[in-house]
């Protein structure tokens, strides 16, 4: 069977699947890292974890840009025929919001670091110096970007939880193809759409 690279009307191709899971797992890890690092009492550990959060944030940002480009260059597999009207409306809206958060979270994190009067350089994985965004630098500006970054992150936690629960519901309760088609393009399923 030919390796399915691109999406079809009914299935996600390998690139979309790989990008979904690599971004998805890194994204959840990034949230956990963010929550832990701001609650760490050791100043040394906190400093090092924040540098790690910035490094993974930029790695994620790169993958997310690839993912958005790939998404725009591909068709989106249609939902199974039996999908209810509510979910038919809600799923695309939720996915759009997830894409928006994937774009805006790294940007607001980058802005908050760039606005800091501490001017701590960002060196993703100690490899190179990432320039700062051209935003005004002041304690007030940093505080504002921090609030935006943190509340968007909290919104992402809620949305990802709903997203994961929805996927599990499809798989274990509705027993449809939704989760299966995000795992492999070739795994057969009863309501497999026409290629």
């Amino acid at each position: 069977m030919a390796l399915l690279i691109r999406n079809t009307g009914g299935r996600y191709g390998w690139i979309a699947i790989l990008l979904h899971w690599s971004v998805g797992l890194l994204f959840i890890g990034q949230i956990v890292l963010g929550l832990v690092m701001v609650r760490t009492t050791s100043q040394r550990s906190a400093f090092e974890l924040i540098q790690l959060h910035k490094s993974f944030g930029f790695l994620l940002f790169g993958l997310i840009l690839l993912r958005l480009g790939w998404r725009l260059a591909n068709v989106t597999p249609r939902l199974p025929a039996e999908t209810g009207l509510l979910e038919r409306r809600a799923a695309p809206a939720a996915h759009f919001a997830l894409y928006a958060l994937q774009l805006v979270l790294p940007l607001t994190g980058w802005a908050l670091v760039s606005a800091s009067v501490l001017e701590i350089p960002t060196m993703p994985f100690d490899l190179f110096v990432m320039p700062n965004l051209p935003v005004p630098i002041s304690d007030a500006a940093e505080g504002w970007w921090r609030v935006v970054h943190v509340y968007l992150a909290y919104a992402a936690i809620v949305l990802v939880a709903v997203h994961v629960l929805a996927a599990l519901r499809h798989h274990f309760w509705l027993r449809d193809i939704i989760l299966v088609r995000m795992i492999s393009p070739s795994r057969r399923c009863d309501d497999d759409g026409p290629e």
Binding site: R44, E48, L118, E119, I120
Partner: protein, 193 residues
């Protein structure tokens, strides 16, 4: 920072021993013990940042003394004790970080000490001071360059510079974003007595 005292002693001794007319005139009487006074003295440091710029700061509180041996420069001495809790960079959050156990751990290690072990004259008004620097329980030999700036009315002033690798003292947090090399630039002014 500690080596400053040593440098001072060396310089004074060197100047005293030297034939330089100016120095000899004023320094023939420089032998003796000096107490470093915070007024007129400063201990500044600078750490380079990746991509340019630097983190600059100073210690506001320190004590020390210099013994200038007129007859034998090598027997001059410098002792300096710095209180790391007095570090200041102009940024409260950075000061708190430096005082914390991430860097100085000033609460448990309130002093950084330098004891000279050797003072070697290198010119009319210059000397190299070697000694032991102790910070956070670790002691390592360090070297500083000292230059005599003035000696008058019982007050002797040296400029002392040197580079210290902070990794030797368990303070390598933030490398390589912040350089491992700490550049010291000190003005040490001592009063006789």
């Amino acid at each position: 920072m500690l080596s400053r005292s040593l440098v001072i002693a060396t310089l004074a001794a060197a100047v005293v021993a030297g034939p330089s007319a100016l120095a000899a005139a004023s320094l023939s009487a420089a032998g003796g013990r000096y107490t470093i006074s915070q007024a007129g003295s400063s201990i500044r440091f600078s750490i380079g940042k990746a991509g340019g710029g630097s983190l600059d700061g100073a210690f506001a509180r320190f004590t020390g003394n210099i013994r200038v041996d007129n007859a034998n420069a090598d027997r001059s001495e410098v002792n300096i004790t710095i209180m790391p809790a007095s570090v200041g960079t102009g940024q409260g959050r950075i000061d708190a970080f430096l005082r914390s156990d991430a860097v100085f751990d000033a609460a448990n290690d309130p002093e950084i000490r330098f004891r000279s072990t050797n003072v070697r004259r290198t010119g009319e008004t210059t000397a190299t001071i070697t000694g032991n620097l102790t910070a956070r329980g670790k002691t390592s030999p360090e070297k500083f360059q000292a230059e005599l700036k003035s000696f008058a009315g019982g007050t002797i002033t040296f400029r002392v510079t040197g580079k210290v690798l902070r990794s030797r003292y368990g303070m390598d947090v933030g490398t390589p974003i912040y350089s491992n090399v700490v550049e010291f630039d000190m003005t040490l002014s001592g009063r006789r007595g």
